[in-house]
Subunit: 270 residues, 2 copies
Amino acid sequence: MNALDLSSLPTPPHPAQAARAAIRAGEWRGHTSGLAPGHVQGNLAILPEALAGDFLRFCQRNPKSCPLLAVSEPGDPFLPSLGQDVDIRSDLPAYRVWEHGQLVAETHDIRALWRPDLVSFVIGCSFSFEQALLDAGIPLRHMAEGRNVAMYRTSIPTTPAGPFHGPMVVSMRPMRAAHAIRAIQVTARTPNVHGAPVHLGDPHLIGIQDLSRPDFGDAVAIAPDELPVFWACGVTPQSVIMEARPDFCITHAPGHMLITDLLNNDLPFA
Amino acid sequence: MNALDLSSLPTPPHPAQAARAAIRAGEWRGHTSGLAPGHVQGNLAILPEALAGDFLRFCQRNPKSCPLLAVSEPGDPFLPSLGQDVDIRSDLPAYRVWEHGQLVAETHDIRALWRPDLVSFVIGCSFSFEQALLDAGIPLRHMAEGRNVAMYRTSIPTTPAGPFHGPMVVSMRPMRAAHAIRAIQVTARTPNVHGAPVHLGDPHLIGIQDLSRPDFGDAVAIAPDELPVFWACGVTPQSVIMEARPDFCITHAPGHMLITDLLNNDLPFA
């Protein structure tokens, strides 16, 4: 019997690299939810260097809303700690370009807009902990209904830094109490993707007047035996940046995230 | 300068051993709350050997209500794993003696009642996690008000074993949401003293009709911005034993626990 020559077999594609290659080539322009399962996805904010120090301090002071996964060198579009080939100018399916707090364009590639003073911030997102919740047997209604998660501006203040200030934005998932208790334990373990909830129960206590009218995303029903459970949301930094009205800024388009080589299971545990 | 001869100094008393010695000598007959701080205290149930196998299986099947710290050999009043000198016949300040589910005596010493077929079960109690909650900066109203914690029979079934069956008894502590979220994380870490809560929010969902009328302990006020948080309670095994109406049984009197040599910080972490 001849030994099998493993070196002759093709290398299986790396799912995150394959997804990024498809996005970079313009072959995938949709939402990234469900792509490269098990891999960490991130929110993106790109700011001029003049504001980068303030924003970095903002993230450091508000780690539940802004868990930083990586920060680039000024002008450097590569983020090797998230994947050797990651090029932040082309590897997200859709970007939003902002000037003075106003949306001026939505595009699939920002190579033409790149500047030597731009700094990229990649921030953990709830996709990672949602997978952990599903793995723990906790159903997520917005997923079951094929909707975006419901997000709300709150009365919970962030800790300001320079021009960056404003309320925390939270995502809400309705759960029965036993699932909420389990979800707190599961999400507390991953502080780099928002960590434990910031509130549960009465939404008025955090300044939310009407759960049926989210500020972002889609409303979902809450059953009589369920509690709304609220997590700090990666939309907070975008909301805060818009309020600061920087001359120039680029973010991911909602749901169109950076897929990284990091595995959810590699994220640090608390 | 002469060296200090440390061997000439008296050995400082071990706080748990000193507390047990005072109790054994009849010098302390009160509640054990606050004695030997940092040491694990336990609920006690003593049953005839004929029922011990069923009760052991009951505890194994209901670990949140009945986290077993130690089980004695039949007829052996010593529990060396909880302290070399622990004599279960004399080391609790007050015992209750039951026959056919009826309380027949309350006593400070059970040496005269000891039998060669008795098996002792020591079960973790919430004193340990309450210290962890206070250490985490979470206020406990019943402690601040000098009351016993409020306890309730629920509609949550236990998993039966032999003659032992019946509803879970829970203890309730009112908390603001942020404290409840933190308390879930803190108590989840110590599964040997009841672990994470079993419920929070609407008490009707677990069969509690009126929080102001606890089945055991004292009612406490709940503020409008607070949620009731419910933990499985070590009164559950007592309640289940009473329902089974064994010929003979001995328990601790409420609040009069066994003080062990174990440290709360030595309990296994989840």
